[in-house]
Structures are given as C-alpha cells and as structure tokens.
C-alpha cells in the first residue's frame, strides 16, 4: 500500500520502544502500556492538568 510505504519512509518520527513492529509482515504489537515520559510527544503534554480540568 502506497500510504503505508509513504508513512514508513517518514523520518520525522521513530517507532517507540513499547511497540514491536514488523513492517515486512505488517504487524505491530503493543508490548506494554507506556508511561508519559516514554510516549514520544513532540510537545509538552500535561495530563495532570487534564485530570484537574475534569475534577473541578
């Protein structure tokens, strides 16, 4: 699929540690649930403020 090949070729992101990907077979596996610091957000995310937002 061209879309997948295109996405795969993008250099702007890397596959994080907690996911096992086999691009040849086209499978991906979430090996564990990541914590905030492991997730490769390009910006600063503040989930604690999200919790505060809803608990008001």
């Amino acid at each position: 699929m061209p879309l997948v090949l295109e996405a795969n070729a993008l250099a702007e992101r890397d596959v994080p540690d907690y996911i096992d990907v086999d691009h040849a077979k086209g499978t991906a596996k979430l090996t564990r649930v990541p914590g905030l610091s492991e997730v490769p957000y390009p910006t600063h995310m503040e989930p604690n403020l999200v919790i505060e937002f809803y608990s008001r």
Partner: protein, 154 residues
C-alpha cells in the same frame, strides 16, 4: 467513529505550537492563532484556561476522539488505582489508531491504516469481532496488533 469537523492543523495554530512536529504544519508559516482575531494580543490565561488548553491539546493530538469518548477515558483513569494522569496516557496510547500511528503505518493520526479483511492472525484478534474501530483498546502483549497493510512492499 465520529467525523472530524475541524480543519486538521488548526489546533497547531490555536495551541501556538506544532503539536505533531510535522514539517507541513501551517503553524510553521503563520505563527499566530486562527481566524480574524488570531493576531490580537492574548490575555493572561486563568487556571481554568490552562487546564482547558492542556485538555484540548491532549484530545486534539489523538485526532479522532470526541469529548464524550475522551471524558470516558478520564473516568476510567480515575477508577484505576495509582496515578490518574499516567493511566490517562496509558489508555490513550493503547487505542488502535494510536498504535497504528506510532507503528508508522500511517503518516498522520487522521489516517487509518488499510486493513486486510481476512487476516492470517485470526486467533489473535481481540475478542470482539469488530476489530477495526479506532478507539478500541489493546492490552499489551495479549492481543496482537493485527493490522496489516495489504502487502507491504508489494
């Protein structure tokens, strides 16, 4: 699945940053808020304002989540023992669409991976028989990330 109603990258300009780090983001060209009044001075955000912004940013980052669905993640995160904010991130990251995005099967969070109808991993599908919903949660290790792109490389 709900339909996205807003311009995809408007959130970049609203938040004042390039939230996916994409080179194509319009924020790279116009570093101010969207709309007629986007270039006005921004007032000082209240506590509520910063919280709302933080929430909108997390929700917007995942692209296809409605407020109702996002709120349900909050409810679940609060229910689980331990740090609620860590649980919230964990719940979001185990969404099927997030997994596909992280695994680089799709270029942006708004795209869905092409998925084969008859997959070879029948036994490894999640229990429900509708495995293609974006918001479907995965458990680590147990359920395999099926997805596959119709013949990658072919």
């Amino acid at each position: 699945m709900t339909k996205r109603a807003q311009a995809k990258y408007k959130i970049d300009r609203r938040m004042g940053e390039n939230i996916w780090g994409r080179p194509r983001s319009p924020f790279n060209k116009r570093e101010y808020g969207p709309g007629q009044h986007g270039q006005r001075r921004k007032g000082k955000a209240t506590d509520f304002g910063t919280q709302l912004k933080a929430k909108q940013k997390v929700k917007g980052y995942y692209g296809n989540i409605s407020e109702r669905q996002f709120h349900s993640y909050y409810v679940e995160a609060r229910r689980l023992k331990g740090d609620s904010s860590a649980h919230l991130i964990g719940l979001l990251e185990r969404r099927l669409d997030a997994l596909i995005y992280r695994a680089k099967f799709v270029p942006t969070v708004f795209r869905r991976a092409p998925v084969r109808q008859s997959r070879p991993h029948q036994g490894q599908r999640p229990a429900g028989q509708h495995p293609l919903l974006s918001g479907q949660g995965r458990r680590p290790c147990r359920d395999q990330g099926i997805l596959a792109s119709n013949a990658v490389g072919a």
